[in-house]
């Protein structure tokens, strides 16, 4: 965990207000593992005041990329960054996915911008294991497949792929999941994660989810990011104990 002033080396719009920003940050690149995030300063002034958390999307050599959606003032500022600008980044933060335990096929489930951590994770799945990427969005333009392999798509409005949500697509393709021992890795809006958890509990699949919560510090000092624990009294902190949790540890 360090703070660096990283130089922006590339910024591209993937479409539909979704951007990919790449920075030169060798130390963060070296320390990072998929599922971790960075807390990025999006303004030189006091507005917006707080840093904004973003999953580490990709690490290539000394470069780290983030994928983001323009929502409010912070992400709008970020979208205006240019090559050569400096970006104040705190990271890597939190705990990532456990991608080297006992399974044969990694099953990714991404909803909307939940696709962000998967390009990095895709590259880390050990050699010889299989990979399936289930990707959902409201409509064709919301589907993000950047950096992902073996994709199966769903849209709520049926404009592309399976018509329905991504968990309904999982259910429809269940025979694919039963060909080998799988582990599910999911990231997306909380209602989607809740449905993925229910699905995995029903069939006894091992599953980790990347959760979100409003954050101030991002590294455990403000206590601002609780998530209800399932395996103990009280709360975990999303920034420090997560953002990735096994589904048995948290109430979604």
């Amino acid at each position: 965990m360090i703070i660096v002033n990283a130089e922006v080396s590339e910024i591209v719009e993937l479409g539909n207000s979704i951007f990919l920003i790449k920075v030169h940050a060798p130390k963060i690149a070296r320390e990072s593992t998929p599922g971790q995030f960075c807390n990025i300063k999006v303004s030189e002034s006091n507005f917006p005041l707080l840093r904004r958390p973003f999953s580490i999307c990709e690490v290539k050599g000394d470069f780290v990329s983030f994928m983001f959606n323009v929502l409010g003032e912070g992400t709008r500022n970020l979208a205006h960054k240019k090559v050569g600008d400096a970006l104040d980044i705190l990271g890597p933060l939190g705990n990532g996915f456990k991608f080297d335990d006992d399974y044969e096929t990694a099953v990714f489930v991404a909803g909307g911008l939940g696709a962000a951590p998967f390009p990095f994770l895709t590259g880390k799945i050990p050699e010889g294991r299989k990979l399936l990427s289930f990707i959902g969005g409201r409509s064709e333009k919301d589907l993000i497949t950047y950096g992902m392999k073996n994709t199966l798509l769903s849209t709520d409005d049926g404009t592309k792929g399976f018509k329905g949500n991504v968990v309904e697509l999982l259910e429809a393709k269940k025979e694919l999941l039963d060909e080998s021992k799988i582990k599910v890795f999911a990231c997306g809006p909380t209602p989607m994660l809740r449905a993925v958890k229910e699905f995995c509990l029903k069939y006894g699949y091992n599953c980790e989810v990347s959760t979100e919560c409003a954050m101030a510090c991002g590294f455990g000092i403000c206590q601002g990011c609780p998530i209800q624990a399932e395996d103990k009294e009280g709360y975990y902190l999303v920034c420090k104990d997560g953002p990735v949790f096994n589904i048995n540890k948290v109430v979604l």
């Binding site: 703070i3 005041l49 403000c222 601002g224 998530i227 709360y235």
Partner: protein, 314 residues
């Protein structure tokens, strides 16, 4: 000026200040609830260069805190309703104090309680710990029913808390005042009369924020405490008000982002100051502020920073 001259001047700028019997190497204190128990932030800044670290409010028994959402950003500020999540006195003594021992700084223990007896009991239990150099009594947490705010609005209760806490410890006692009162100086006066060593001002201001589409509050607790640059003018006015009416050391708190803000607090009357929200954005802010103040004193020919306290010209 040659480099040698600079070094000579350096040795003559004295950043140290005193709060009761506690000597701080510089007036920078890290505010309660914004540095946990020091562990995480020590990876990102050098706590040995900070005047004092105030620990997260500790209560007699552990508290798990409020459900999410606990925080929301507002214009140049943030609202929080953490709900005093903390490990409780026993765990604090067993696991948190040993970690803090390694740093060459003053550790100030902040206490929150739901009864006057509980404040006294917590202080009595922690007072023998050598690592703890002073107590800050939180009578002003706006976010839990039993967070002390009911005491913070009651002059008699503040008097009793000050007197009884002082009776169980030889260490300096700082009373952290609520800004959510009409006459803050009256509270500082009571603390002074009962032998309190200092007051800190201000804790957060009560605020709220609603989602206009769902019409629901953005934080679970409905209201929260406002902190950050948004509250600085209010905090400065409260410090000035106390300074003009009561003779007691004041620790200024509220929206300090840089050394300029810190200098402003000292000029209106603060002996030392605490930084809170800025730690979330720039965890090294304390060290940078200390360096900035040193440079400011050198330029302004101020040899002891304590000369800055209350040096306003009105």
């Amino acid at each position: 000026m040659t480099k040698k001259d600079v070094e000579n001047v350096e040795t003559t700028v004295d950043l140290s200040v005193k709060i009761g019997s506690m000597k701080l190497k510089n007036p920078v204190m890290l505010a309660s609830g914004t540095v946990g128990y020091g562990n995480e932030i020590s990876n990102l800044t050098d706590l040995n260069r900070i005047g004092a670290v105030v620990t997260k409010s500790v209560s007699l028994k552990p508290r798990k805190g409020n459900p999410p959402q606990r925080i929301v950003e507002t214009a140049s500020g943030m609202l929080n309703a953490i709900g005093l999540a903390n490990v409780g006195v026993e765990e604090f003594i067993r696991t948190k104090i040993p970690f803090l021992r390694q740093f060459d700084t003053n550790i100030v223990c902040n206490i929150a309680a739901s009864s006057i007896d509980e404040y006294v009991e917590c202080t009595r239990m922690i007072s023998p710990e050598e690592t703890i150099k002073a107590f800050e009594i939180n009578i002003s947490c706006p976010n839990v029913k039993e967070g002390g705010l009911m005491f913070g609005h009651d002059l008699k209760a503040v008097a009793e808390i000050t007197r009884r806490v002082k009776a169980v410890t030889d260490k300096p006692v700082i009373i952290k005042l609520s800004p959510n009162v009409s006459d803050i100086a009256a509270f500082a006066k009571v603390v002074s009369e009962e032998g309190g060593d200092a007051v800190s001002a201000i804790n957060t201001l009560v605020g709220t924020s609603f989602n206009i589409y769902t019409r629901r509050p953005k934080i679970f607790n409905v209201t929260g405490g406002l902190s950050g640059p948004a509250i600085k003018p209010v905090a400065l006015a409260k410090v000035l008000e106390i300074k003009r009416k009561v003779d007691i050391p004041i620790i200024g708190i509220g929206g300090i982002m840089n050394w300029q803000d810190a200098a402003e607090f000292m000029i209106v009357g603060a002996t030392a100051f605490e930084i809170g929200t800025v730690n979330f954005i720039n965890p090294n802010a304390g060290v940078e502020i200390s360096d900035g103040l040193w440079e400011y004193c050198r330029k302004m020919n101020i040899r002891k920073i304590s000369d800055l306290t209350g040096s306003y010209v009105i």
